[in-house]
Amino acid sequence: MAEVLVHVDHADGAVRKPTLELLTLARRLGEPVALALGAGARETTAVLAEHGATRVLTHEASEYADYLVVPKVDALRAAVAAVSPAAVLVPSSAEGKEIAARLAIRIGSGIVTDAIDVEAGAEGPIVTQSVFAGSYTTKSRVSLGTPVITVKPNSAPVEPAPAAGTVAELAVGFSDSTRGTRITERIPRRSSGRPELTEAAIVVAGGRGVNGDFTVLEALADALGAAVGASRAAVDADWYPHAQQVGQTGKSVSPQLYIAAGISGAIQHRAGMQTAKTIVAINKDPEAPIFDLADHGVIGDLFEIVPALTAEARARKG
């Protein structure tokens, strides 16, 4: 059976959820072979095996933390040579897309980015993309080389599927080009304790209408176990960190539920949330375009509605 290479995204051995979703998709195409790199790579293997990896290739070296992007491309290149996979799946983070892009050039293959679904096809994997701010859905495929596909978070369920997960060390050679861009300092982002924005099942987002005070939204988010997002207007006003921005130049999210409060629904914002399953809008302007997307909309003052909803949610939770 054909093998499918999956690039593992992990933090010191803790595998991030999108990688497990990739394993679900990879199993539709063949036998998943996972590649884990950098500090903690060997700690990823048990989780990867539980979710379907028949083999796990690892490589630990300081280069992965010290230099931007290229060391990981070198390793993927080596893994492609060793495995001859039917496809390569990479999480669609900013870094993941850059790694995939360089790999595609290096192995002379086509690339499709930001997949929201991947299925097996007669001529190779069929990739579904949501484009033009979510207004179109396309189906594409790579027609030359080994398909390189980056997949957005929340595009597939995480499914336990125990497999052998045989661990092997991958041999990776680095060159001068590998060390072109040095990471001279790294300041980790402080965790809010809430779910990761792109991975969360529920996102509560606020915009200019929040008027500087995100605590009402944070209270709702905590009652729902949700992540907090923000429009660019709220981020530009320094009310919330840029890392939490949703939209074209922020994060793209596909949660089960997206609650937009005090957000008008500009096209650039919609680009980052239109694929959410259920959309709720709270806005005092009945003409706000966000209502065109809403499954349930409330016209009114968010400072009245959100606290009432939070209280109800807490009460029902008991």
């Binding site: 900013a94 069929i126 207004s135 072109g180 040095r182 096209i267 809403a294 509605i305 909803l309």
Partner: protein, 261 residues
């Protein structure tokens, strides 16, 4: 010595218009007005700031695109770039990212560079891959997705705000950078700038000039095929209620009905 800066910009359909696909699944350029991708204005801005901070610099803007793409170059020139290169060829119709990066790399190599500045992503394809592809093809460091960038003593320094951390990056020139919309507001062209732009040189190149064959590019040479494109069905109209004091409660009931609470 002149610091040679090349800014790579894309001409895109206006996101505010009706963006659609033509019968061959390429972007329908007749249905929406085109313009310089807004995210590439940040690239032009940073290139101009870097040029202003050194003794001697030249800023060249380059685009790969149809005849109308000249408008994108015009905008960049009116902001203050010195000259422009327009790569245009009928055989480019339908080129994917692999092909576009090949053409751009050839054009950038031909004109020569110390620094290439790109936007973080286009506003239509929005792949965010071209800068990394250019670095791979040109075999120079990639210093990408910067919210802060400067050039000192033959090196580029920048800050990249990633998912897990904020990183300081450093690489020797020549290098490829891309900048985000956090890097600093782009200037508006002045009247003087607009007038001056009309006299600035724009060189037009075709595939022949770059030593490329038509069948390597366009739909024929593409590494990817689009098999279908469908307009997303309009979301079924939701229930919109006016808050008369019970809005929060009604919303809670809706969410309970959907098993969210």
């Amino acid at each position: 010595m002149t610091l040679k800066i090349v800014v790579s910009v894309k001409y895109v359909p206006d996101a505010a218009g009706d963006r659609t696909f033509a019968d061959d699944f390429t972007v329908d350029r007749d249905e929406a007005d085109g313009l310089l991708s807004e995210l590439d204005e940040y690239a032009v801005e940073q290139a101009l700031r870097i040029a202003e901070a050194v003794e001697d610099a030249e800023v060249t803007v380059v685009t790969v695109g149809p005849e109308d793409a000249r408008a994108a170059l015009g905008k960049a020139l009116s902001m203050g770039a010195d000259n422009a290169i327009h790569v245009e060829d009928d055989d480019l119709h339908g080129t994917d990212a692999i092909g576009t990066s090949l053409v751009l790399a050839k054009a950038i190599e031909k004109t020569g560079f110390d620094l290439v500045v790109c936007g973080m992503a286009s506003t239509d394809g929005a792949m965010g891959v071209l800068p990394a592809m250019l670095a791979e093809r040109l075999d120079v460091p990639q210093v990408t997705l910067l919210s802060e960038v400067s050039v000192h003593d033959g090196a580029v320094i920048g800050r990249r705000d990633g998912d897990a951390a904020s990183e300081r990056l450093q690489a020797a020139l020549p290098a490829i950078v891309s900048v985000t919309d956090q890097s600093g507001e782009a200037r508006y062209p002045s009247f003087k700038g607009i007038m001056a732009a009309k006299k600035k040189p724009v060189e037009t190149l075709d595939l022949d000039d770059l030593g490329l064959e038509g069948d390597e590019l366009g739909l024929a040479g593409s590494y990817t095929v689009v098999e279908a494109a469908a307009e997303r069905p309009a979301r079924t109209a939701g229930v919109i209620v006016k808050d008369e004091g019970e809005g929060g409660k009604q919303l809670a009931e809706f969410l309970a009905g959907q098993k969210f609470i």
